[in-house]
Amino acid sequence: MHEPPHWRDRAQNERLEAQECGDCGYVSFPERREICKRCGARPDWTDVQLQPRGTVQSYVVQNRLPDEFETPLPLGVIDLPQEGDGEPARVYGLFTETDPDEVSVGMTVEADLRELFDVSGLPVHSFKFKRPRGDRL
């Protein structure tokens, strides 16, 4: 029984779909909640689409991780704007293909669908962040 939790999260994991609180405008990602984490209401939630480019708000560089991770590995808190109006979602995400020395608060990052881990050999894909390819030209 390896699939149920990842199957239910595919819209968030693979398409950056988030939910917006109808009362206060808070954008929840990736959790699909009943009660708004910010205003405590039980609102009507609207599905919103996040953009694949955002801004680093904060980050840490992890140096001691299990063997399957490539270290040093930056982990960032990224603000991803919605398509259209509304607040951005504040998202936690791993980096990939990015030297920790290249990461800074305020930098623009791009989300790419990558293998996050596997369950019994079945890859589970989700977004990781990286320095945009166009910035390397």
Partner: protein, 323 residues
């Protein structure tokens, strides 16, 4: 006529020079380099990146797709598929036909022609075709120096100003040549013999088309084969190849090279694509429309790169190849 609404490509960031591979094992070093998938980058992720670029170029929402075709020679799974996962990731869910074409680098044109026929038959208005590969090759084999990775995609439809599929021909020979058992390293066979069969198969496909293209993309398992086929077919066209920078990316190569050619071509130019793999060859004639090129084109992906060591390239290739 079936139109091209948009195209897109994606190449991994990492590269290794063929001399760096030869230095590890001795022997002959081919010129150029190959693209190496990252440790977390497999055929699904590569395909999704190219698909997103193509959909953006076409101005099409994934939710409006009627069908998704995926072609690959390096799917690590016998049972899972690639097409449905690319489809879902670009928001094409529900009544969306999905088809995986595999078993030969020619699978890319199997997919393109199946997609064309679906649109032509009125069964679909907008379809996505993706070729995605992360070729496997054991350490120390000659194929390690040519095993590339990347993805290319086309959005086809009943309208579109990026281009059109003008004509196509196919030449099924049953010849195998290079082959690869599931999960193992490829066995190349006799290079000269295979190259002669390649030229026969490709010229046989081209011969039934009455074309004098301005541009050509004829990817093959080794460099220079396409030039020989064009010369044998007496076609004088500008050849576009990523072999020296990416390597042989299997079923992805023809769609990457097609994108490269479309990005160089002028409106009104014609392009000849030809594929080859176990089973035979397909030739497809495209025309270039008025649309501008994608935001990130093949040249951008070729230029934005980072070299990795031999050891890292081995680890990345093996881990990425499992995804």
């Amino acid at each position: 006529m079936v139109r091209i609404r948009g195209w897109g490509s994606y190449l991994p960031l990492y590269r290794i020079e063929r001399t760096a591979i030869a230095d590890q094992h001795g022997g002959y070093a081919g010129g150029g380099e190959v693209a190496v998938p990252a440790h977390d980058e497999g055929v699904v992720g590569l395909g999704v990146s190219a698909a997103e670029n193509a959909l953006e170029h076409a101005g099409v929402d994934g939710a409006d797709l009627d069908a998704v075709y995926a072609a690959s020679t390096s799917d690590p799974f016998d049972e899972r598929g690639i097409a449905p996962h690319v489809a879902v990731a670009v928001d094409a869910e529900g009544p969306v036909r999905v088809t995986d074409c595999q078993g030969s680098a020619r699978a890319a044109t199997n997919a393109v022609l199946a997609a064309r026929d679906t649109v032509d038959a009125g069964r679909a208005e907008t379809v996505l075709v993706v070729g995605t590969d992360a070729r496997r090759a054991d350490a120390g084999t000659a194929e390690e120096q040519t095993a590339g990775a990347g993805a290319g995609a086309l959005v086809l439809g009943t309208d579109g100003d990026a281009g059109a599929i003008e004509s196509a021909a196919t030449n099924t020979t049953g010849f195998v040549g290079r082959f690869q058992r599931a999960g193992e390293s490829p066995l190349p066979g006799d290079g000269r013999f295979n190259r002669a069969r390649y030229v026969e198969a490709v010229t046989g496909a081209i011969a039934t088309l009455d074309v004098s293209p301005d541009h050509a993309a004829l990817p093959a398992p080794d460099g220079g084969w396409g030039d020989r086929a064009l010369s044998a077919a007496e076609i004088d066209a500008e050849v576009h190849s990523t072999f020296d920078a990416v390597g042989d990316a299997g079923a992805a190569s023809v769609l990457i090279d097609a994108a490269y050619a479309l990005e160089t071509a002028s409106p009104g130019d014609t392009l000849l694509l030809a594929t080859f793999g176990p089973g035979g060859s397909d030739a497809v004639e495209l025309s270039r429309g008025e649309a501008a090129t994608p935001e990130m084109d093949v040249a951008d992906y070729l230029d934005s790169k980072e070299y990795v060591t031999y050891a890292k390239h081995r680890a990345y290739r093996e881990e990425g190849g499992e995804a």
